[in-house]
């Protein structure tokens, strides 16, 4: 007996089958001992539940019972409801907060872009007089030559060629 047949037997016991299908299942029960046993077991269970379930009586009437539930729901809804904002507060929430948020974002983006954008373009040089730059292709390097004159003090070279090191 497959699961579908078992469900049909259960539906028959519960009285849920239309007459033509109920007749088919009853015919099946007549020829199938396993199906008959299942039907008997289900009927016994149903009867045991029906006959032995203790009655539960609500102490109040049905209407009063449901009105208590309705009042509790209303009380909780009133508790969770927020006070109605004043017109000014409503206006501020509607306009000032989004506009303020956008202004903050714009400011942050401006700060970020300013910090990333160099003041001058790549490999640019503020035109210092006497400064030339040349590119060494083989070495892939640019050398900036500064015509500072021999008294620039970069090496602190003395006239006799010796170098004063710090």
């Amino acid at each position: 007996m497959n699961a579908e047949t078992q469900l049909k037997v259960q539906a028959l016991v519960d009285g849920e089958l239309p007459p033509n299908e109920a007749a088919q299942v009853e015919a099946l029960l007549a020829g199938d001992a396993g199906a008959r046993q299942l039907a008997a077991s289900l009927k016994a269970t149903r009867d045991a539940l029906r006959d032995n379930e203790p009655p539960l009586a609500v102490p109040e009437s049905r209407e009063f019972y449901w009105s208590k539930i309705a009042r509790e729901i209303e009380r909780l809804e009133a508790q969770n409801a927020q006070p109605v904002p004043t017109p000014w507060l409503r206006w501020a929430r509607r306009w000032l907060l989004p506009v303020g948020g956008v202004a903050v974002l714009a400011g942050l983006l401006a700060m970020l872009s300013a910090s990333r954008t160099p003041a001058l373009s790549a490999n640019s040089s503020r035109m210092m007089p006497g400064t030339i730059s040349f590119y060494l292709q083989d070495e892939d390097v640019t050398i900036v030559w500064i015509e500072t004159g021999v008294n620039s003090g970069f090496t602190d070279a003395s006239p006799d060629g010796s170098v004063a090191v710090e």
Binding site: L109, P118, S121
Partner: protein, 152 residues
């Protein structure tokens, strides 16, 4: 009301996220090394205190007329993005380095208190240094290499 509160939350979240991004960008630190080199045709044996320049830097000077390139001074400095850092490379000369992000550096050179160069240059890790040079006394020359070092 719930819509405006929702938009406020979205704005705050975006602002916080951008603040996070911004702080992480600004937190980028780099390390550079400035090397002062002297080019001369004189016998390097006369200058016992000076050692020959690093071959990696020296090969970039092979096109110049000087026979010997000696290292005078070398200083390493950690740079924070957007902050100026001064390197006193010799008694009267200094560099002011500013890291601008994306491997871009502003390099300002000062000799005897006068700014002689102000340049924005890309300096990548282990590749291209910034090289500056000029004539010096007795037909010699000075060079400054600004090289990027890995941050440990």
């Amino acid at each position: 009301m719930s819509t405006s509160c929702g938009s406020l939350k979205v704005c705050l979240c975006l602002a916080l996220a951008l603040l996070g991004i911004g702080s992480s960008v600004r937190a980028e630190d780099v390390k550079v090394e400035a090397t002062l080199v002297w080019g001369t045709n004189e016998d390097p044996g006369k200058f016992k205190d000076l050692k020959p320049v690093n071959p990696e830097l020296g090969k970039r000077l092979q096109y110049f007329k000087w026979k010997h390139y000696l290292e005078i001074n070398r200083k390493t400095v950690a740079l924070q993005q957007g902050k100026e850092n001064t390197i006193q490379i010799s008694k009267e000369c200094k560099l002011i380095l500013t890291y601008q992000g994306n491997s871009m550096f502003r390099v300002q050179l000062f000799g005897k208190g006068e700014r002689v160069s102000d340049r924005i240059q890309k300096i990548t890790l282990g590749e291209k240094p910034a090289v500056f040079g000029g004539d010096d006394k007795n037909d010699t020359a000075w060079f400054i290499f600004v090289t990027r070092l890995p941050v440990k």
